[in-house]
C-alpha cells in the first residue's frame, strides 16, 4: 500500500454541516417556544365557544378567571404553599448542607448513597409514599388529638390539605436546595472562615459575615427553584392535596371538560409568575457575581443538572 500524501482535504461539505447545525438549533428553539406562544395567544381570544376559533383580541377571559371564586382560592393556595415551602426547604436544605460539611466521611458516604436512591426514584413513587405516610400519621394522630383536646367537644382534625402539600413539597425540595448549596460550599474559600476564627469572631458572627454572604447566591437560587417547583407541581399535589385545589390541579381538572380560553388564561398567568421569578433570580445572581468580579453567570436551571 502506498502512502497517501497527508494533506488536509478540501471540505466541500463544511457549509452544509454548519448550516445544518444552525437550522437544527433554530428548529429546536421554535419547537420549545411554539406551545408557550400558542397558550398565550389563544388566552387573548375573544371567542365564546372554541379555543382555536379566533374572534379578535380580548381580555375577557382574564377578567373571568380573576373573578372566578374557585380560581381565586386555587391561586391563593398555590401561592401560600409555594411560599411556605420555599422558606422551609431553603432553611432546612441549607442547614443540612452546612451540617454535612462537618460529619465524618463514613457517614457522608451513607448519605450520598441515599441521595442517589432519592434521585433514582421517580417523583410519583415519592408522591404515593408520602400519601401513605401522611394517612398513617393522620389515622394515628387524630384519636390522640381528640383525646387531649376533646374537652370542648370539637377536637382539631388532621386532614390532607394545604399543610400536607407543603410538607410533601418540602420533603422533595429539600434535597434540591441541599445539592445547590453543597455545590457552592465545596467551591468556597475555607481560609476566610479560618481567618475569621483567628480574629476571634464567634461562630455566629463568622456565619453571618463570611459564610452566609458567600452562600447567598446558592440560597437565593434554591429558594426560587423551590418556589417555582411548588407553584407548578401537579404530580405530588395530586396525591397529597386531598380536596384542596391548587392552580395546576384546577387546570388539570379543566382539561377533561375540554380546553377553554379560561384554561389558557390561567395557564398564561402561571407562565407569567414562573418566568418573572426566573428572570428576577437570574438578574439577582448575575448582578451578585458581577459585583464580586466573577466571570459569567450560571443560568438557574444548570445548577440542577
Amino acid at each position: 500500500m502506498t502512502a497517501r500524501p497527508m494533506r488536509p482535504r478540501v471540505d466541500r461539505w463544511a457549509p452544509v454541516v454548519e448550516g445544518g447545525f444552525r437550522l437544527q438549533a433554530g428548529l429546536v428553539y421554535a419547537f420549545l417556544f411554539l406551545p408557550i406562544l400558542v397558550v398565550v395567544v389563544f388566552s387573548f381570544n375573544g371567542t365564546t365557544r372554541y379555543v382555536t376559533d379566533w374572534q379578535g383580541f380580548s381580555l375577557v377571559w382574564y377578567q373571568r378567571a380573576l373573578a372566578d371564586q374557585t380560581v381565586q382560592a386555587a391561586l391563593r393556595n398555590s401561592l401560600v404553599i409555594a411560599f411556605i415551602n420555599a422558606i422551609l426547604a431553603t432553611a432546612f436544605g441549607t442547614m443540612a448542607a452546612l451540617a454535612l460539611q462537618r460529619v465524618p466521611r463514613r457517614f457522608r458516604i451513607v448519605f450520598d448513597a441515599l441521595t442517589f436512591v432519592s434521585i433514582i426514584i421517580p417523583e410519583i413513587v415519592i408522591a404515593l409514599a408520602t400519601l401513605i405516610l401522611f394517612s398513617a400519621f393522620r389515622d394515628w394522630a387524630n384519636p390522640w388529638l381528640a383525646f387531649f383536646a376533646g374537652a370542648d367537644g370539637r377536637p382539631p382534625k388532621l386532614a390532607l390539605g394545604v399543610w400536607s402539600t407543603v410538607a410533601a413539597h418540602v420533603l422533595f425540595n429539600l434535597s434540591l436546595v441541599l445539592l445547590i448549596v453543597r455545590a457552592r460550599l465545596s467551591g468556597m474559600d475555607r481560609t476566610l472562615v479560618d481567618a475569621s476564627y483567628d480574629l476571634y469572631a464567634t461562630p455566629w458572627r463568622t456565619f453571618r459575615q463570611i459564610t452566609l454572604p458567600q452562600l447567598l447566591p446558592a440560597i437565593v437560587a434554591g429558594f426560587l427553584l423551590a418556589f417555582t417547583f411548588s407553584f407548578d407541581d401537579y404530580v405530588i399535589s395530586s396525591f397529597v392535596a386531598g380536596s384542596t385545589e391548587t392552580l395546576p390541579l384546577f387546570v388539570f381538572g379543566q382539561i377533561h371538560q375540554g380546553i377553554t380560553p379560561l384554561t389558557n388564561a390561567i395557564a398564561a398567568v402561571m407562565l407569567l409568575v414562573t418566568i418573572t421569578i426566573l428572570l428576577v433570580g437570574q438578574a439577582v445572581l448575575t448582578r451578585q457575581s458581577r459585583a464580586r468580579g466573577e466571570r459569567g453567570s450560571t443560568p438557574l436551571g444548570m445548577l440542577e443538572g
Binding site: 411554539l34 441515599l114 421517580p122 404515593l128 407548578d232 395530586s238
Partner: protein
C-alpha cells in the same frame, strides 16, 4: 431518614390486602405481586416508551448541545437561558398546549383534510413521545453541553489535519469525550420517564396506560393501596437494576469517576 421511612412503609403495604373501604389492612400475602406478574403490560410499555424517548432525546439534543458548545459564540448565555425558561415553566401548561396544537383544530385536523382520512396523532404513542422529547430535552442538553464545552478544538483540528474524515473525527474524538454527558443525560431523562403519568394521561387521551397511570388509578381511584405499593416496589427495583446495569456497562474500561449521576 425522611426518605427511608415512607419507602419502608410502601414495601410493608405491598404485602397487605385492600381494606373493605379502600386503603390498607395488615396481612402478609404475595397476591399483589402474583397478580402483577400475570399482567406486565404497563411495565413493558413504559420501558419501551422510556427507552425510545431517551434515544430520541439524545438524537435531538446532541447536535443542539454541540452547536451551543462550539458555535454559539456570544449568544451562548442567551441561548442557554432560553433553554432554561421553558424547562422551568409549568410542565402541565406546556403539555396542554400540545393538546391544542395536535388537536382536531390543529395538526390532526390538518392532516385529516390533507390525506382525506382520519389521522389522530393525539391519543397515540407518538403524541406521548413528542411530549416527552419536548419536556425532557433540556435535561439531556445540559449535561451534554457541559461535557462538550470541555472539548478542545485543537483535537478536532489535529484530527482533520491528519486526514480524518468528519465521521471518523466524530467517532474517535467527539463521541468518547461526550460519553459521560450522554450517560448522565440519559439517566436524568430515563428516570422521570419511567414514572411519567401527566404526559400519557393528557396526550394519550386516557387511552394509554403506563405504570404511572396505573399507580395513580390504584391509589387515587380504586384505592387499592397494597396493589399499588407492590407495583411501586417493582418499579423501584426495575429502576435500580436498569440504571446500575446501564452505568456499569457504559463505564466499563473507563474511569467511572467521569460519570456523575448528580
Amino acid at each position: 431518614m425522611l426518605l427511608v421511612i415512607p419507602l419502608a412503609i410502601v414495601v410493608v403495604y405491598s404485602f397487605g390486602v385492600r381494606g373493605t373501604d379502600g386503603g390498607y389492612t395488615p396481612a402478609f400475602v404475595l397476591d399483589n405481586y402474583d397478580r402483577l406478574l400475570s399482567r406486565p403490560d404497563p411495565f413493558i410499555l413504559s420501558l419501551e416508551i422510556a427507552i425510545s424517548g431517551t434515544i430520541l432525546c439524545v438524537l435531538v439534543g446532541f447536535p443542539l448541545a454541540y452547536f451551543l458548545a462550539t458555535r454559539a459564540g456570544k449568544r451562548k448565555t442567551l441561548l442557554l437561558v432560553l433553554l432554561v425558561i421553558p424547562f422551568w415553566t409549568s410542565f402541565l401548561v406546556r403539555t396542554i398546549a400540545w393538546l391544542i396544537i395536535l388537536g382536531p383544530a390543529g395538526l390532526d385536523g390538518f392532516l385529516t383534510n390533507l390525506l382525506g382520512r382520519d389521522v389522530s396523532i393525539l391519543g397515540s404513542p407518538w403524541a406521548i413521545l413528542l411530549g416527552i422529547v419536548y419536556n425532557y430535552l433540556p435535561l439531556m442538553v445540559f449535561p451534554l453541553y457541559v461535557t462538550l464545552e470541555r472539548l478542545d478544538p485543537t483535537l478536532l483540528e489535529a484530527s482533520k489535519d491528519l486526514g480524518a474524515a468528519r465521521w471518523a473525527t466524530f467517532r474517535q474524538i467527539t463521541l468518547p469525550i461526550a460519553a459521560p454527558g450522554v450517560i448522565t443525560g440519559s439517566i436524568l431523562v430515563f428516570i422521570p420517564l419511567m414514572g411519567e403519568y401527566v404526559i400519557p394521561s393528557i396526550l394519550g387521551l386516557g387511552k394509554i396506560f403506563l405504570i404511572g397511570n396505573v399507580l395513580q388509578l390504584d391509589f387515587l381511584a380504586s384505592r387499592n393501596w397494597p396493589a399499588g405499593s407492590a407495583k411501586a416496589v417493582v418499579l423501584i427495583a426495575i429502576m435500580l437494576i436498569s440504571v446500575t446495569f446501564y452505568v456499569w456497562t457504559t463505564t466499563r474500561g473507563r474511569a467511572g469517576r467521569d460519570v456523575s449521576v448528580l
